[in-house]
Structures are given as C-alpha cells and as structure tokens.
Amino acid sequence: MKFLENIVHKMEPKFAKGGKLEKWNPIFESFTTLVFTPAHVTSKGTHIRDGVDLKRTMMTVIIALLPCLLFGIYNTGHWEMVAAAGDRSLDFWSNGGDKMIAGLIVVLPLIVVSYGVGLTIEFIFGMKNGHSLHEGFLVSGLLIPLIMPADVPLWMVGVATAFAVIIGKEIFGGTGMNILNVALLSRAFLFFAYPTSMSGDKVWMAGVENTNVTGFTGSTALGDLASFMSEKPVFENLETFTNNYSLSDSIFGYIPGSIGETSMIAVLIGAAILLITGIGSLRIMASFFAGGLLMGLLMNVVGGNDYIMLPPLYHIALGGFAFGAVFMATDPVTASQTATGKIIYGLVGGMLAILIRVLNPAYPEGVMLAILFMNVMAPIIDHYVVQSNIKRRLKRLKTT
C-alpha cells in the first residue's frame, strides 16, 4: 500500500490550505480518509484513543442491514413474479436465481439514487462548510431504499432523499445534529406529498400495475387489515385473514411490503449484530417490542373490530414494526440519550405504533409516525430524566 500512500502524500499539498485545489479539500479528505485512517495524533488530553471511530460504527450498522437487504431483494423478485402470474400461491423458494436478478433490477436503482442524491448534497454542504463527509448518511442512504415500496418511482426517491437530507439534517448542522430520523423523514415526505402513489395496493409489488390478470391486487397484509375499519373489508373476518397470511409467513417475511421490512428473521439477525457489537441500544429495542406487545394485548382486551382483535405477535411480525424497532428507533442521534429516557422512549414508541395502526384507517402503518413523533419527544423525555438527576443532587445538599 506504499504505492497508494505515496499518491496521497503527493496530492496532499495541492489540496492543503493555499493549494491550487483548496476548495476541493473536503472531497479529497473524504476519499483519503476512506482508504487510510489519517495520521492525526492526540494533541491534548489523553494520549491514546479507543480504536473505535464513527466510520467503523456506521459500517457495522450497514453489515447488520445486509440480511434485510438480501432478503428484500429476493422478496421483491418473488412478488414481481407473483404479480406477473397473478397467483399468490407461487412457491417462494423456487426459481431463486431469477427472483434474485429480478429483485436486483428493482432494488439496485433505488440504492443508487438514494446514495447518489444524498452523498451529492452532503458533499456540497461539506464543501460549503469546509469539512469532509460525515458518516451519518452512509447508513441513511441504505435505509431509505429498504423502507420504500418496490414500485416507487425513482424520481420520488430522489426528491424524498434530497428533502430529508437538506431539511431534516443539513439545516440543523449535519450528522449528529438532526432531530428527526433522516430515512424515516424521507418516507414520511413521500407518504404525505404523494399519498396516492405511496399507499393503496398499487406500489407494493414491482410491475403490479401492468398485470393482465383480472382481479389480482397487490395488497399487503396491513392494508387488508386496515380495511376492517372501512365499509368493505377485504376479508370477512380475522379468521379468513389469518388463513391467508399465516404467522410463520409473516415472521419469515414471505409477504409483500416495503423492500427491507418484511422478514422478521432478517431483522433479528441484524438486531443480534447490533446488540453483540453494542451499537444498538438494547433498552430501546426491548422496550419498543414490549410496548408493541403491551398495546396489542390492551387492544385485544378492549375489542371493537377485527383489526383490534389481531393477536399482538402478528402486530410485531407484520409491516415495519420489527425493522423500525431495530434500525430506526435506535438511531442514537434522534432517540433519547439517557438510560432511563431510552426505556420510556421505546415503550411509548412501541405502544403508539400499534395504537396508530389499529385506530387510524388513514395510516395502515403506524411505526413510521410513532418513531418520528418520539424523535420529537425525545428531548423532552431527556429533560425530565436530567431534571431528576439534578433534583437528586439538590436533595443531598438539603439532607446534609
């Protein structure tokens, strides 16, 4: 690697202060620090530093997302074939290679657009503010395609990414300063800006619009469930629904949905990676799941319609609940920062997600809104946790 190192050393003066290409330095720095950990040494304070840095941390999250990505690609391919054939009973694991390729053709462009738009904006802001690329978007850029429906138009993903990065993050000061989760914000933007193309039964399977089979719809489990609240439910009652979507199908993810969210198994592999490495917060994940189960049970007790009576385990296995709990709610920047705060944040977030799902027919998926709402609430939760710490100290003064 001496060869590469020499190139870096040779180019360095040109990009340094006063050099010819000074204003391109942030980009130069971004790429060189990607290839080489820089030669920065400690100057004050501790003389040694922990081996961990933000690059390695973010890389680990990307690795944790890979099972979801791979399964998502395959699943997308599968449902594209289902849509083409108009037959939902197609065997999931046959024609694997074709499905993988079909899925890649759909998913890869989404990833390219998301990273392309996002990184370009980050570089522009980096050049403007004179700093190299901060790593936050490396994860957001992969999360965005994973929470999109398969048939979403590419330009919409581009617009949503741009909105999320500029309004959600850069105007607050960049990585580490944002209030709302960037990836979820992009999804929320699309949801409210283009509601017709982001819900209903037209977008969840690639190519479903062009299917020639009459009567076939690309509906999802949550959409069907939400229809219990309308005049004309898709299924007669809960039993016919569970016959159509078995719990194991939902856990393994053999159902249509956003690209990366369907398989609970893949999500749990990611969760294991995040928890073993200590990057994801166990407090948030566990309390988010607990909150979801609790609210599901509570709703069962209350009763009302068939959706409300859905067993809690279904709630967790369906839709983006598990994905949101593991990858979205745990975003350290937008979640609560105190230990106690994290538990409250997760618990309330999980409960809200189910509450929105079953009581609001307009939003079949409540997880996105619940987490975004909790993002906004996190500073308030932290405020009260910090205040209790302060009060404890003041009490000490009074007792002595």
Partner: protein, 453 residues
C-alpha cells in the same frame, strides 16, 4: 464511618510496559525545572533572577494573586534560565545543580504542638502548599478556604501507574506525619482510601487519625474525584482538598526533618521502554539521563504522567510537578490502510471498550497502543458509551455539552463542582467522536472559577 465501595463502571486499559518492582536511585540530573504550567491558572511572580543561586527549599516564585503560595527549589544550584513563551508567559524555570546537594537542617517540628493555622503557615512558608489541591476547579488549594474534608487516595489505578504500596513501603513515619499535618488543616475528616482489590501496605493500613475507606473496581477507582463522590460529595460552596500519596510523605518528611523534601519514586513505563522499573528521582528532574539507552525506537512520545492525563514532554524535557510516572509510547503519525490497520481492519492491534474489535474477547492481553486518534473528530453521535466508564451519579455527556456551550446554570446543576478534567479522561478515551472532553471540562471549570467562585 468508613465506607466500602464497589464500582461496576470503569475501564482498565491494559498497556504493555508495566514497571518491574526494582528500585534504583537515578544519577543526579544536569538540570531540574519548575513549570508554572503544572499549576493550572496560576500566574507566577519571580523572586529570583537568572544566574542567582538557590538552595533546597528556598523560594523561587510565588503566586502573583495569592502571594502566600510559594514555590520552593528542590535542589541546591543556580537559576540557569527563565524560559518564556508567547506574551512573555513563563513556561519553566531551569535550575542547574551544584555538586553539593546537602540541605541545611532546621530541626524537627512537633506537629502536635502546632495549631491548624501554624501548620498552614509553616507549609506555606516552606513551599509545600502547591502539594495541596482543591476541588472544585482542580487547582492549588486557596489557603483562605476552609475544607470540609481532605482526601488522599492510597493507590493509582491509571494505566501503568506506579504501585503506591511498593513506592511508600517502609515510609510509615513520614506518611503518618503527613497525615497528622493534614488533619490539623481541616475541622472535618481526612479520608484515606485503599484499594479493595489488593491487600494494602502497612504504611496505609496502619495509618492513624484518619478515616480509612476501601474502594474496588476498575479505573477510575483510584482517582480521588471518584472517591470523593462516593464518600463525601461536594456541593456548591463546599471545598475539599486533595493531596497525592507521595506528597503526603513529603509533607511529613518536612515536619520530621525540617527539610524540604523533593525526592520521589517514579515508575518508568510504556511499551517503548527497554526495562520498565522504578527510579528514585528529584522533583522536576530532567529526564534525558533517565531515558538514555532505554527508548527502543525513534518515533516515540514521552509523557510525564500517565497516558490519560499526562503531559507530552521532549525526550530531554522535565518531569511534571505532580507526575508519579513517565510513560513512553509510539507516535501514531502514520497513515493506516483501511483493511490492514485502518478503520475496517481486523483490529487485533486495537484496544477498545466497544465490542467492535476481536480484542474485546482477549481479557488478559496487554496492548501496545500509539498516539493515533484512530479517526476524525465528529459531533456527538453515539450515546451511552461515556456512561459506561464514568462511575459518578452525573450525566457525563450532558455535562460536557453544558461545558461546550458555556452554560453556567447547566454546569452547576449537572455537577461541575464535583469533577476535575482527569475524571473525564476515560470518557475522552472511549469517545467515538474523538472530542477533547478533558479540555472542554477544563474550559467549563475556568468559566465557573471566573463567574461563580
């Protein structure tokens, strides 16, 4: 009531180069130095000129604003140079040594016959006061304040730290005399805190007239700040004084022999030292002859003190006033290729408190770490990592942020009066975003000192 404390939080950084228990006396150095920069916030007024001769215990300079605080020469010799930096700030006072290093003996002083004020006056006049440090703010104690307690830690838990049980073995008399003097200075208690993990030396175990507590756990268990927090925490408006273990013996030695004692035993440690061992030296000694032939490579950093809180010095620089060790580690000023030694590498050479490196599983291995920051500075992103190494009922990240934003109310509420920069050393070490937390806390303390004290 003496207390037994167990800590669950903390981190022992296992470095290569722990000192063997062999003690030799160092040859006399060419020069010694007193560095005003060792005493944070103190501005010196020189009492001697370049070329003037000084003797052991004679006063070299005093604090410009608290004139009773004086600083003594540790040797007989001549003021070689007063080194000044920007704006004529005095960086260090170099003193070259005479051949005769005999001290004039003014006879033993009976501590029991003295009142607290007398002890204070004697210590101030003898130049022993800089050994006394105060919390809050972590500066030399203001003699005008009344401390509610005085804390002495009987061990140092920092990486590669000198073993105080070994260093002070057999110095029972001096150490006890020092404690006796300290107990005259406060109406409260003198707390001596022992390491709960190992049996303490008789010097500490048999200390009288003090409250003996034990604390066990990982670093920073040995930090006096941790001990204060768990034994008798500081509230706003209160003062606690602290003294280094060896300095207690030096104070005691003054009262026993009537001579300013400037000898201390330091540990020569670090991965780049050929044979790490203990050495008896003079306070502020030049390290050139100590390190001669001992350093195994060219590209090294010499630290006066430990790797977490010490100061970088030149290979022919001088030992800091409060330092009990010298650590020599490799400089990390090389580019590290991403998949071999960089951020995506296997990481068998990295020590981390996170579980992102396989070395997390090697619970016994010792590591050779260099001074590379292993990444660039970022905004705070990760949460919960500082709390793992900060055994206080204080929120480290929130307090650091309050310090960064000059939020005085926030700092007061969040516990700035209880902490010193050294308490945050491990937080700074583990920080993924590579923020200079100790420096931020110091700036916060400076602001508090200016606005609230």
């Amino acid at each position: 009531m003496s207390k037994t404390i167990k800590l669950r939080k903390g981190l022992d950084i296992r470095l290569v180069g722990i000192a063997n228990k062999v003690k030799t006396a160092a040859a006399a150095p060419k020069t010694v130095s007193i560095k005003p920069l060792d005493f944070h916030g103190m501005i010196p007024r020189m009492l001697v000129k370049e070329g003037e001769s000084v003797t052991i215990g004679s006063i070299v300079f005093q604090d410009k604003y608290k004139e009773s605080i004086k600083f003594a020469s540790p040797v007989n010799g001549k003021v070689e140079a007063i080194v000044r930096g920007e704006k004529r700030r005095i960086l260090e006072v170099l003193i070259s040594l005479d051949e005769n290093q005999e001290a004039s003996n003014s006879g033993a002083i009976d501590i029991n016959a003295l009142s607290g004020e007398d002890v204070k006056a004697k210590m101030l006049a003898a130049g022993l006061w800089p050994f006394m440090r105060q919390r809050p703010i972590d500066v030399i104690a203001d003699p005008k304040n009344e401390p509610k307690a005085i804390f002495v830690s009987a061990f140092d838990s920092a990486p590669l730290a000198a073993d105080m049980d070994y260093v002070l073995h057999g110095k029972n008399a001096e150490f006890q005399a020092g404690l006796d003097a300290l107990s005259k200075l406060t109406s409260g208690k003198v707390h001596l805190t022992l390491n709960g993990k190992l049996p303490a030396d008789a010097t500490f175990k048999e200390a009288k007239g003090v409250e003996i507590n034990t604390i066990s756990g990982k670093h920073p268990a040995g930090n006096v700040g941790t001990q204060i927090h768990h034994i008798d925490p500081i509230n706003k408006g209160e003062f606690v004084w602290t003294v280094n273990t060896q300095d207690v013996a030096n104070i005691g030695s003054y009262f026993l022999n009537g001579v300013y004692s400037a000898k201390k035993t330091i540990a020569i440690t670090g991965s780049e030292i050929k044979d790490p061992a203990y050495l008896e030296v003079i306070q502020g000694t030049n390290v050139a002859n100590i390190l001669e032939g001992q350093i195994t490579s060219d590209n090294v950093r010499v630290i006066s003190g430990n790797v977490l809180t010490g100061d970088k010095i030149a290979a022919d620089g001088h030992l800091g006033f409060y330092a009990n060790q010298i650590t020599v580690i490799p400089e990390g000023n090389q580019l590290k290729f991403v998949v071999t030694k960089g951020w995506m590498g296997p990481g068998f050479d990295k020590f981390s408190n996170s579980r992102l490196f396989p070395t997390y599983l090697m619970r016994k291995k010792r590591f050779t770490l260099d001074t590379n920051t292993n990444g660039e500075e970022r905004a705070f992103v990760m949460t919960g990592e500082l709390e793992k190494v900060f055994p206080f009922d204080i929120l480290p990240m929130q307090l650091t942020k309050a310090a960064i934003t000059d939020d005085i109310d926030g700092m007061e509420n969040l516990g700035i009066y209880e902490v010193a920069p050294e308490d945050f050393a491990l937080c700074e070490y583990v920080c993924t975003s590579k923020i200079d937390i100790q420096d931020k806390i110091r700036q916060g303390l400076d602001l508090i000192a200016e606005e609230c004290m």
